[in-house]
C-alpha cells in the first residue's frame, strides 16, 4: 500500500488489496478467540468522524479499532460545533490537536477525506464520501467473495479473473459502486453495470466495465449479483418513474433468482430495502452473503487500521530482523 491514507481503492492497487485481504484472515482468527483482541495498536488513538450518520459503519470501525487495542474517540456531526458555523478545517484541526493517529471520516460530500489530509498529520481513512468512494466496503466485498470462492474450492483465492460480477442499480450516486468497480476489476473480475441510463454515471470513460439496462439479458451469466440500495428520494425526481417500475425492471425477484446460475452469489451493501431492489424471500436465500459482508467488515477494517498504523510509516512485508 502506498501512503498512509486510504482515500480510494486506487491507493491500494492489486497488491495492496491482496495484502489487506490476507491480513483480514488473521483478524478473522482473532475474532474466534476467547479474548478477541490483540495489543498491536495499544497507545494509538483512532477517531471516527461521522459527519453523516451511519451507525453500522461507525460501529464496525470502532469494533475493528478496539480489537487492536486502540483507543477510540467518536465524533458525530450532531454533537459537533459544525452547526454553530465552525468550518470543516477548524473542526479537523481541533481534533488533530487532541493527538489522534487515525481519522475515520464519513461525509455526505465527495472529497472531504481527501481535504482532511491537508489539515491533520493523522492517517485518514475514507469511510464513505458522498458519491465518490467507500473503499473499506469494497475490500469487505472482495473478502466475502474470496471467502465464498474458497469454500466452493479450486480457484486461487484473490484472483477473480473469469468471474463476472453484475452491479445492479443506482451506480450514478453510489460510492460503493465506484470502489467496487475499481477493486473487483483490479482483482481481475469482469464487471457489468446494470442500470437505466439515468442511474449510470454521465460518462463511463476509463471505467473497466460494460453497461446494460437489461438485467434479464445478463442475469444467467453472472457469478455475483451485487445489488445497490435504491434511495427512495431518487424516484419521482426525473431519474426514475417510481419504485414499482424499478422493482419490475431491476429488482431481484423470486423469478429472477430462479434463473441465476448455480452457485451464483447475491450481495448487497445494506441496508436492504426488501421489495424494491430485492424480493423479501430472495434476501434470505443461502446464496445471499449479506450477513457475512457485515461480519467481514470488522476483519477488513482491522486489517486496514493495522496496515496504516502499525509501524512508523505503514507496514512493509519482510522488514523484520534481529529477533529469532
Amino acid at each position: 500500500m502506498s501512503g498512509r491514507h486510504l482515500l480510494s481503492v486506487a491507493d491500494l492497487g492489486r497488491q495492496g488489496i491482496e495484502e489487506i485481504l490476507r491480513l483480514a484472515d488473521s483478524f478473522k482468527e482473532v475474532a474466534g478467540r476467547p479474548i478477541p483482541r490483540v495489543p498491536a495498536l495499544r497507545g494509538k488513538t483512532v477517531a471516527t468522524l461521522f459527519f453523516e450518520a451511519s451507525t453500522r459503519t461507525r460501529l464496525s470501525f470502532e469494533t475493528a479499532a478496539k480489537r487492536l487495542s486502540a483507543d477510540v474517540m467518536s465524533f458525530s456531526a450532531s454533537t459537533s460545533s459544525l452547526e454553530k458555523g465552525e468550518s470543516l478545517r477548524d473542526t479537523i484541526e481541533t481534533i488533530d490537536a487532541m493527538g489522534v493517529d487515525a481519522m475515520i471520516v464519513r461525509h455526505r460530500s465527495s472529497g472531504v477525506p481527501a481535504r482532511v489530509t491537508a489539515w491533520t498529520s493523522a492517517s485518514v481513512v475514507n469511510a464513505g464520501d458522498g458519491q465518490h468512494e467507500h473503499p473499506t466496503q469494497a475490500l469487505l466485498d472482495c473478502y466475502t467473495i474470496r471467502e465464498a470462492l474458497g469454500e466452493s474450492g479450486g480457484r486461487p483465492q484473490t484472483d477473480f479473473s473469469g468471474l463476472r460480477i453484475g452491479i445492479v442499480g443506482d451506480v450514478r450516486h453510489s460510492r460503493v459502486a465506484r470502489s467496487d468497480v475499481l477493486a473487483l476489476s483490479l482483482l481481475g473480475a469482469e464487471v457489468v453495470l446494470v442500470a437505466p441510463r439515468t442511474l449510470l454515471p454521465p460518462s463511463l470513460e476509463g471505467w473497466p466495465v460494460k453497461a446494460t439496462a437489461d438485467l434479464d439479458a445478463v442475469l444467467g451469466e453472472l457469478d455475483v449479483v451485487y445489488l445497490l440500495r435504491i434511495q427512495a428520494e431518487r424516484a419521482g425526481r426525473l431519474l426514475l418513474p417510481d419504485l414499482d417500475e424499478y422493482h419490475a425492471r431491476f429488482g431481484l425477484t423470486r423469478e429472477r433468482a430462479g434463473r441465476l446460475a448455480e452457485r451464483a452469489l447475491i450481495m448487497h451493501p445494506g441496508p436492504m430495502i426488501r421489495g424494491v431492489e430485492i424480493a423479501p424471500e430472495v434476501a434470505d436465500l443461502p446464496a445471499s452473503l449479506v450477513t457475512r459482508q457485515v461480519r467481514n467488515g470488522v476483519f477488513v477494517r482491522s486489517a486496514v487500521l493495522f496496515h496504516l498504523l502499525a509501524g512508523p510509516a505503514g507496514a512493509v512485508v519482510g522488514e523484520e530482523d534481529g529477533d529469532g
Binding site: 495484502e19 491480513l23 484472515d25 488473521s26 478473522k28 482468527e29 482473532v30 478467540r33 476467547p34 479474548i35 483482541r37 490483540v38 495489543p39 498491536a40 487492536l68 493495522f306 496496515h307 502499525a310 509501524g311 512508523p312 510509516a313 505503514g314 507496514a315 512493509v316 512485508v317 519482510g318 522488514e319 523484520e320 530482523d321 534481529g322 529477533d323 529469532g324
Partner: protein
Amino acid sequence: MAERERRLTRPEGRVFHARTKVMDEDGVARALRRIAHEVIERNHGLSDVVVVGLQTGGVPLAERLRAALSEIEGVPVPFGSLDVAFYRDDLSLRPVLPQEVTEIPFDLTGTTVVLVDDVLYTGRTVRAALDALADHGRARAVQLAVMVDRGHRELPIRPDYVGKNLPTRADELVDVSLDGVVIGELGEEAP
C-alpha cells in the same frame, strides 16, 4: 519469524551468505528426539501437554517434535501454530505483518504448552508469544523449546529445552531448518 524466511524477504537486495554448517539434518533430528524425551520426563508423561509452534520457523520443528512425542508415548498430542506479529513490542520501530494465520483450535486453559521456535535471540518474540498465548486461555505452564540458543538476550527469558547452544556475534545470522543449522551473515547479492 524464522531467520530463513527473513533472509528471503530482506530488502535492499541483501542476502544471506552461509559460512559454517554447525548441525546437519541428522543432528537436528537427533536434537528433536532428545528434546522429546526431556519433555516427557519433565512432565511425567504427556497428560495435558500441547505443542505450539511459532510462525513460521518454529512450526516445522514443532510438527516434528509433536510426531516424536506421539510416537514415543503412543498418544495424540494437540498441536497449534502461533503468529505473534500483533503482539510485538517493536511494531512502531519495524513494521511487521503476520506471515501466517494463528491456528490454536483448542482452549489452552489447564494445559502445559510446549512453545517451539527455531532460534532464541533477544527474547522479544517469546515475550510476544507469551502474551498471545494468554489470549487463548490460561495455560497451567508454558515451556520453551528452541533448536538454537544464540545468546544476546534483552529480556529475562530462558529456554527449557535447547537443541544447541551457539555463541554468535550480533551481526551474524543463524538459519535453522529441518536440513540443519547454518551460521552466516548478510551480504550483497552475488553477481
